[in-house]
């Protein structure tokens, strides 16, 4: 049984991510983007409920809401955090290297993805997964060989 989480947690995280990335786009702050990158990294490594926005959701928002109508798998939003991290890293490196246009494109792409998640519930990062696997097939692992 895969880990299940309250789907409103990732949605709340997407709202905060949208706001932070919009501020990055307006101010051009590489530092703020780096902080958002750390938040993405925490979500990808430890899972969204244990990343900063997830903790904020559990502490501030969840107590004011009723129980969730349904739970969702934890893996897709966690994968999307890793995709977000890639964009944040590209953005920070580009800012540091003076490639401002590249940095803004990376931030704009991440902002669009976060906004689509917040407003429509689409997990754009998740949708990259099959395309990614089509380009880079996974190595067959031992469990598959055994089955």
């Amino acid at each position: 049984m895969p880990t299940r989480i309250d789907p409103r947690g990732p949605r709340f995280a997407a709202v905060l991510t949208t706001v932070v990335l919009a501020v990055v786009l307006v101010t051009g702050s590489a530092w703020l983007l780096a902080i958002q990158g750390l938040v993405f990294a925490a979500g990808a490594l430890f899972g969204l409920p244990r990343a900063p926005y997830g903790l904020l959701y559990a502490k501030l928002v969840r107590p004011r809401l009723g129980p969730p109508g349904e739970l969702e798998d934890a893996a897709p939003p966690r994968f999307a955090q890793a995709v977000g991290l890639v964009f944040a890293v590209v953005g920070v490196i580009a800012f540091a290297a003076g490639l401002t246009v590249v940095a803004y494109v990376a931030v704009a792409a991440a902002l669009a993805a976060a906004f689509l998640n917040a407003a429509f519930g689409f997990c754009l990062g998740c949708e990259f997964y099959l395309a990614y696997r089509r380009l880079f097939p996974s190595q067959p692992n031992t469990t598959e060989v055994a089955s």
Partner: protein, 130 residues
């Protein structure tokens, strides 16, 4: 300015995607039929609902529930779920770009309909071959 443009473009994309997502459409006629060997399961007498899924796919669960429901309450209809990641040859041959993608096969394995995104129950029922 840039923020407004990005959000406007994302909204347009979101509305477009929401309108199209899960729609069941006619499949291209030149596709090769699918058989039990490729599916790893026998074909349904009337129809087979072939669902391509991945581990990192939110709407796959909703699609699974819908298709399993139709298969359970319709005589001769079976639901087969394929892990796209481990069947990339098939994924490339059928040009599957997103999950869930659902193919509706008739009794001979010919692909008659296709839906990208989680399809609605009524649309799946309407798409079943007679």
């Amino acid at each position: 300015m840039v923020v407004a443009a990005v959000l406007a473009a994302a909204t347009a994309f979101g509305l477009w995607r929401r309108a199209r997502d899960g729609r069941v459409v006619e499949a291209r006629v030149d596709e090769q039929p699918l058989g039990p060997d490729e599916l790893g399961a026998p074909l349904g007498e009337r129809a087979t609902l072939v669902q391509f899924s991945t581990a990192f796919c939110q709407p796959c669960r909703a699609a699974r529930a819908t298709l399993a429901h139709v298969a359970a309450d319709t005589e001769g209809v079976v639901h087969v779920e394929i892990d796209a990641e481990h069947h990339l040859d098939l994924v490339r041959r059928l040009n599957i770009l997103r999950t869930p993608t659902t193919l509706v096969l008739d009794g001979t394995g010919r692909i008659v309909r296709r839906a990208t995104g989680a399809p609605r129950l009524a649309d799946v029922r309407a798409a079943l071959p007679a």
